[in-house]
């Protein structure tokens, strides 16, 4: 699924390149008018995390950002005559992934099966989580050229979830059914309960993006941006996970400036 989107993106950009007539001349003119086009490719490192970490989370036992890529175009329009201030936007496909293992204590949870049956209670033990999300993201950033080589960007971004997986299992622990004094149900000897909340992921995601681009050569940029999600990963009426989880990702990558 993700590969398909990336392929589409590449094809779209290739098509755009073919259509341009005398591209060098057009680019020179648009640059002179304050326009700048970048093709960017990079990786996303980060995670979906509750903030602050709820008291129920006792330790994070493992974490792997896995390989999460982003690919997109940026368009910047430098507005003022000195070409110091500008506005950036663009479009990018990006993965936001993570796998974690955490140990929780007395963690309120409710597992709802596809047929409506519920297992509700307080879990103490291990929780494995795997997130693999693909978003189409549109940033709207204010840009400031701090020096000929450095430019800084800040502003909101808006993402649409194209494809998402949020799944995992609970293992090596026990459930107190209903509340902390309920029947104790052990999950030991390899007993696990798997869950899959992919269907409850929110489609629309937004947040704040801040970052810096550094022009290494006339056409090559290195960039790092932090994107901080401001709405919950899950739909509003999804109660199984009692706290909100926010995507916080650092993007690192290269850009080619036309």
């Amino acid at each position: 699924m993700k590969k398909k989107w990336i392929t589409c993106m590449l094809l779209a950009m290739a098509a755009a390149g073919v259509q341009a007539q005398n591209p060098k001349e057009i680019l020179r003119q648009t640059r002179e008018n304050g326009w700048e086009f970048d093709l960017k490719a990079g990786i996303n490192i980060g995670g979906f995390s509750p903030l602050p970490l709820p008291v129920e989370i006792r330790s994070i036992d493992s974490y792997n950002p896995t390989l999460a890529v982003q690919l997109g175009v940026d368009i910047t329009k430098w507005i003022d005559s000195s070409r110091t201030w500008g506005v950036s936007t663009g479009l990018r496909f990006e993965n936001k992934n993570m796998t974690t293992r955490a140990t929780v204590k007395n963690y309120g949870m409710e597992i709802i099966g596809g047929d409506g049956n519920r297992m509700k209670g307080n879990w103490t033990g291990g929780v494995r989580t795997k997130v693999q999300n693909t978003y189409l993201t549109l940033p709207v950033l204010a840009s400031w050229k701090a020096s000929p080589r450095w430019s800084l960007h800040a502003g909101p971004y808006f993402s649409y979830l194209l494809d998402g997986t949020f799944s995992g299992d609970v293992y090596d622990g026990y459930l107190r059914e209903g509340n902390p004094t309920g029947d104790k149900i052990n999950f030991t000897n390899g007993a696990v309960a798997t869950y899959d909340f992919s269907e409850h992921e929110r489609k629309f995601q937004w947040g704040i993006q801040v970052g810096a681009d550094w022009k290494a050569f006339s056409h090559l940029k290195v960039y790092t941006h932090l994107t901080w999600g401001l709405n919950d990963l899950f739909e509003k009426d999804f109660q199984t996970i009692t706290f909100a989880m926010y995507p916080i990702y650092l993007n690192l990558g290269f850009g080619y400036t036309f």
Partner: protein
């Protein structure tokens, strides 16, 4: 590969708020252990892993003490969930001529659990040997069969408690082990192999066979090790010879095994065991549902009765099984028999391999008018 330091560095860099916070006080309020001072206990340990009793509005703990123990002055001591407190205090002297209620309060002060502790002098507890399957009570939303005859009493155990975890809004009649109004004579027990829905599948237990057994179902291990959770046996002061009764059986249409359906024909299972309930060091021995997988080989087994005849379908059939003592080559010691050193158990299931989650949903076994013939 572990990228944990990366995550910490990242979270630290991005927000100082995202650290692991100080641990909250415990919310649980359990008695995790109970002992009595002096050498007065019959058992090696007191079973504190008990199910809630609605009629008592408490978790009942039953303790037997040696003959001649003064039950009006006993001072049980408890271990509790760390940080929890108990009222009356652990080690305080109480009058146990009637049950004493203890309340445990969790460390965070938010949660309470009330236990009712009964302490009795050891006595012979005979079970009835004829079973009519007329009497049930409803506990936690499902039927529990019990049999009384004079002072004799037996409550049948079943796996219904485990089923309830997966299917929580089932009617009593929708459980694997349930009651049928029209039996061979009066009412009877009806055991049905059921599917366990999405949650059952989630924990790798997609079907549940209806079962009845003499012993205890340990709910806390129902999902981790359902075979070991099936604890078989109660003291029996006679040498059993035969197990008789009536059955009616209809197997389900499609057999479930290894994640799919096959044409295999389902079969029911009835077996009974007689065994020594102490090992050579005098420690209690409780056999469990793993026994059939071990081909009924265990050093404590004395006799085995198994249903081996043709399984006639769809009509009431009498059955009679003989306890085979030759198989184990052991004699029954009369003194030990009178001292309560032998256990008996009867296990009935609507799917022979239901314990390993193989069977045909819909397989139904009706059981009625069963009796143990003994010497």
């Amino acid at each position: 590969m572990n990228y944990k330091p990366l995550l910490y560095a990242f979270l630290l860099g991005s927000a100082s708020v995202s650290c692991i916070r100080e641990e909250a006080p415990n919310a649980e309020a359990d008695i995790t252990g109970c002992t009595l001072p002096g050498n007065v206990l019959i058992q090696d340990s007191i079973d504190v892993d008990v199910s809630y009793d609605e009629s008592l509005n408490a978790y009942p703990i039953y303790v037997q003490v040696k003959k001649g123990t003064d039950c009006s002055q006993l001072a049980p001591t408890f271990t509790l969930t760390p940080g929890a407190t108990i009222e009356p205090a652990s080690g305080s002297v109480q009058d146990f001529t009637s049950p004493v209620r203890y309340t445990v309060t969790s460390e965070d002060g938010q949660w309470h659990r009330t236990y009712s502790i009964s302490i009795e002098e050891e006595k012979v507890k005979e079970i009835p040997t004829t079973f009519h399957f007329e009497d049930t009570r409803t506990e936690n939303g499902y039927y529990v069969f019990y049999e009384t005859s004079g002072t004799q009493e037996l409550t049948w155990a079943s796996g219904n408690g485990g089923f309830r975890l997966a299917i929580n809004d089932a009617e009593p009649s929708e459980y694997p082990t349930t009651l049928e109004e029209k039996g061979f004579s009066g009412k009877c027990a009806k055991l049905v192999t059921r599917t366990t829905g999405s949650l059952g599948a989630m924990v790798g237990m997609p079907i549940a066979a209806g079962n009845l057994f003499i012993g205890k179902f340990n709910l806390s291990n129902a999902l981790s090790n359902s075979l070991k959770a099936t604890q078989l046996g109660v003291e029996f002061y006679h040498k059993p010879l035969k197990l008789k009764g009536y059955y009616k059986y209809t197997p389900g249409n499609q057999f479930y095994e290894n994640g799919g359906y096959t044409n295999r024909k389902d079969q029911f299972d009835i077996y009974a065991i007689f065994y020594e309930n102490k090992d050579e060091n005098g420690q209690s021995v409780m056999l469990d549902g793993t026994l059939p997988l071990a081909n009924f080989v265990h050093p404590n087994l004395v006799a085995l009765a198994q249903y081996k005849d043709t399984q006639v379908l769809n009509s009431w059939q009498p059955f009679e099984m003989t306890f085979d003592y030759d198989r184990y080559g052991k004699s029954v010691d009369l003194d030990r028999l009178n001292a309560g050193d032998y256990n008996i158990s009867i296990v009935i299931s609507s799917s022979k391999d239901g314990a390993t989650f193989e069977g045909a949903p819909g397989s139904t076994l009706w059981i009625d008018e069963m009796s143990i013939i003994y010497e």
